[in-house]
């Protein structure tokens, strides 16, 4: 099977994630889109690993998953904190740190 299809799928997933981050305002969805981007990267890594024929790419993919898990923990924690303080769950309204 040609590697091209894997790369195309990965790119499409990545672009979906980017668009989601840029266009959606809900922090929950942004977090999901981030995951999507990370997994797009994972897919590319695994595909390249199969193409080259060793396991290094797969190891990287596992590390990325760990990082993704950490990031989700922090992100969800933030969202819960925002929710508890009864702040709007809308990233455009949370802009106190502007210069």
């Amino acid at each position: 099977m040609n590697i091209t299809w894997y790369i195309v799928l990965s790119s499409l997933l990545f672009a979906t994630g980017v668009l989601g981050i840029l266009l959606r305002r809900s922090p929950m969805v942004i977090l999901l889109c981030l995951e999507l981007m990370l997994n797009a990267g994972n897919l590319a890594l695994v595909a390249f690993s199969r193409m080259v024929g060793n396991e290094q790419g797969q190891v990287f993919a596992v590390i990325v998953m760990v990082i993704a898990a950490c990031e989700v923990v922090v992100g969800l924690g933030l969202i819960v904190a925002i929710f508890r303080r009864r702040l709007p769950l809308n990233v455009d309204d949370l802009r106190e740190l502007r210069g």
């Binding site: 980017v18 981050i21 840029l22 266009l23 305002r25 942004i30 990233v91 455009d92 949370l94 802009r95 106190e96 740190l97 502007r98 210069g99």
Partner: protein, 669 residues
């Protein structure tokens, strides 16, 4: 106990006293502060005596000790230790300084009793003595400069002691600025010494100087002239003397301390200490001697017309320091130091008596308003008379022997140095006149209202809170002398101090009488043995002829003062009217203040104004404002990016990465 141990203790006690009183001012009652201050200096004097006793047990040639506690500064090629150097000269100074200072502390204990700043006063006073002792005992030029600058600061603090008086703060600043001019001279001299000789240490410098320098080589002359700038500023010699009369704004014990025991004698000590350099630079030594002579005469003439009691005595101090500077510059080292000692006795005493009278006058210092204190204050007037006799070199008093010894030496050296003898005697004549002018105008006659009040009621006239010099209202909370005043007649500590000094002023000269005994000269000679000038000795016959001339001149001066101020009190006024121009010239102090104002202060102010208007406004402001505007503009752009929208940050991030990726893709293909 070694000699150095005692010397360190001499330094330690005043320092402890100063710090202790300063830290404990809330806890210590007034009396305790005064006692601690006095005891600290008294202990320092006792340690000085102990050092003297252990030095006496040694061979006269070996009576010098260097000792150091730790490294003060140790960098490449430079090794300065926190070290002291004790020999006959520095011990002599230590004894004079601590001895007279102890009595002055005792006097202040009574005199300052009702002052608001009693603790502060004693803390400063102890610090002053500590600084002076550090200056005297320093074992290298760096420590000398440290002590030198400390003395300058302490004098500033004490002159502006009543710091709510504008005149006092101004006088303090003036003293400080002029002293800093001297400090600069001294520092530059130390730099030159290090450059030429590679050391700051007294021992090394004085041992190497004769090998390195040839006579009158420019470098050694420059060193000596720079040292002289320092010495002249501290010792109030022309033209750096204008701070000294203004320093009379301080409390009277301060005048006594500055003008008798410490500070002004520092310059004389410096010249004596570095006499080897001055032997190698005879030109500089001659310049010093002539400046001393000029100061002696100028100050004596000004003292003739001053109407401010303390200022007149201050000018007399300048004049007497002139004698000492002449002495140590022309080679009469031990005579100069001898005069320094006797002067410390009688001048401290005169100031104390003046302080007592000023207290009775409720801080008024104008002698035109004083008269008849002879009846009102018997003890004060007797001691003042003792001091006056010694200052006027009345036969057999202390000033009589010490002053004439300098003049006899100048005569024995011969050549142009005869000038010093002749003009020195003329100065002595003026000295006798101005001294007894003060005494005749203050003591006899019809009592003035304040003196009458003292006779009638036994109460001292009490001041209203106004500065008598300017009429300015005084702040009674801080820096106020207090409404109550203390005079010697009613205060035992003051009486003790004055009685001891009066005794010393009268008989202190007997320790060195030509042909009879030579205590001071024998003691100091080993220090000055390396100077060829010590070989010159006036013969005993000539010395006694000189003393005879001195006696005649002194009596003539006293008679002249009597003729002027007692026999016919209208005469001085008539004389003033006839010699209006001369009187004005002298009364304005030879226009020195005006000349310095014109030559130094105004140009400096003009340069400052120019710098402010042109340089500051255009260059400095331009640079500063320009930088500020640039930073503000750039940060405005960056601020616009930080808009707080997470999504726009993400867009920027992604666009950036995309741009980078594109760049690498394009550049790799």
């Amino acid at each position: 106990m070694s000699v150095s141990f005692w010397a360190w203790l001499v330094l330690l006690f005043p320092l402890l006293g100063s710090i202790g009183i300063a830290l404990g001012y809330r806890a210590l009652p007034r009396k305790a502060a005064g006692m601690i201050g006095t005891a600290a200096i008294g202990l320092a004097f006792a340690c000085g005596v102990a050092a003297l006793i252990s030095l006496l047990g040694e061979d006269p040639e070996a009576r010098h000790h260097a000792s150091s506690l730790w490294d003060y500064a140790s960098v490449a090629g430079l090794d300065i230790k926190l070290g002291i150097y004790l020999d006959q000269l520095s011990l002599f100074m230590v004894l004079v300084v601590t001895g007279v200072s102890t009595l002055i502390h005792l006097y202040s204990y009574g005199y300052m009793q009702s002052d608001e700043g009693y603790h502060r006063f004693f803390s400063y006073l102890n610090f002053f003595v500590f600084s002076m002792l550090l200056l005297v005992l320093a074992g290298n030029f760096v420590l000398l400069i440290v002590g030198w600058a400390f003395v300058g600061f302490a004098s500033y603090a004490l002159i502006s002691f009543w710091y709510r008086r504008e005149t006092a703060t101004r006088a303090g600043m003036k003293a400080f600025v002029i002293n800093v001019v001297g400090d600069i001279g001294l520092v530059l001299a130390a730099f030159l010494i290090f450059r030429e000789l590679g050391s700051f240490d007294y021992g090394t410098v004085f041992a190497k100087a004769p090998e390195v320098f040839s006579t009158n080589q420019w470098s050694v002359t420059a060193i000596c002239l720079l040292l002289l700038v320092g010495a002249f500023a501290k010792s109030a010699q022309l033209p750096l003397h204008t701070w000294l009369p203004d320093a009379m704004e301080g409390p009277t014990p301060v005048s006594s301390l500055i003008h008798a025991a410490t500070m002004v004698t520092a310059g004389v000590y410096l010249i004596a200490r570095t006499h080897i350099l001055f032997v190698l630079a005879p030109t500089a030594a001659d310049i010093a001697a002539f400046v001393g002579l000029a100061t002696l005469l100028v100050a004596a003439t000004i003292a003739l017309v001053m109407t401010d009691l303390k200022r007149a005595i201050a000018y007399s101090t300048m004049s007497q320091i002139g004698y000492m500077v002449v002495g140590v510059s022309i080679g009469a080292y031990s005579a100069g130091m001898f005069h320094l000692m006797t002067h410390a006795f009688f001048k401290a005493l005169l100031f104390m008596a003046a302080g007592s009278i000023i207290a009775a006058m409720a801080n008024e210092q104008n002698i035109d308003k004083m008269s008849g204190f002879g009846k009102a204050m018997r003890f004060t007037s007797i001691t003042m008379l003792c001091g006056g006799l010694a200052l006027a070199a009345f036969p057999l008093t202390s000033g009589f022997f010490s002053k004439d010894e300098i003049l006899a030496y100048a005569g024995a050296r011969g050549g142009m140095y005869i000038v010093f003898t002749v003009l020195g005697y003329f100065g002595a004549f003026l000295t006798a006149i101005y001294t007894f002018r003060l005494i005749f105008r203050v003591l006899p006659g019809k009592p003035c209202p304040e003196a009458q009040e003292l006779i009638d009621t036994g109460h001292v006239h009490h001041a209203h809170p106004f500065n008598p010099a300017t009429g300015e209202e005084e702040d009674t909370d801080v820096g106020f002398p207090g409404a109550e005043h203390h005079i010697a007649e009613q205060s035992a500590p003051m009486r003790v101090a004055m009685a001891v000094l009066a005794f010393l002023a009268l008989v202190g000269g007997l320790i060195q009488v030509p042909g009879v005994d030579d205590v001071i000269a024998n003691w100091l000679d080993p220090v000055f043995a390396d100077s060829p000038l010590t070989a010159i000795h006036p013969s005993v016959e000539w010395s006694w002829i000189g003393l005879g001339i001195g006696a005649v001149i002194s009596l003539a001066g006293i008679w002249a003062a009597h003729w002027l101020y007692i026999a016919n009190p209208e005469r001085p006024r008539a004389l003033e009217a006839r010699l209006q121009g001369v009187h004005d010239f002298l009364f304005r102090k030879w226009y020195f203040d005006e000349a310095i104002d014109f030559l130094v202060v105004r140009p400096a102010l003009a340069i400052g104004r120019f710098a402010n208007r042109v340089f500051e406004r255009l260059v400095v402001d331009g640079l500063v404002t320009g930088t500020e505007e640039t930073v503000r503009g750039t940060s405005g752009v960056i601020r616009a990016v930080q808009n707080g929208f997470v999504r726009s940050y993400a867009l920027l991030l992604i666009a950036g990465f995309a741009g980078l990726a594109l760049y690498f893709l394009l550049s790799s293909s």
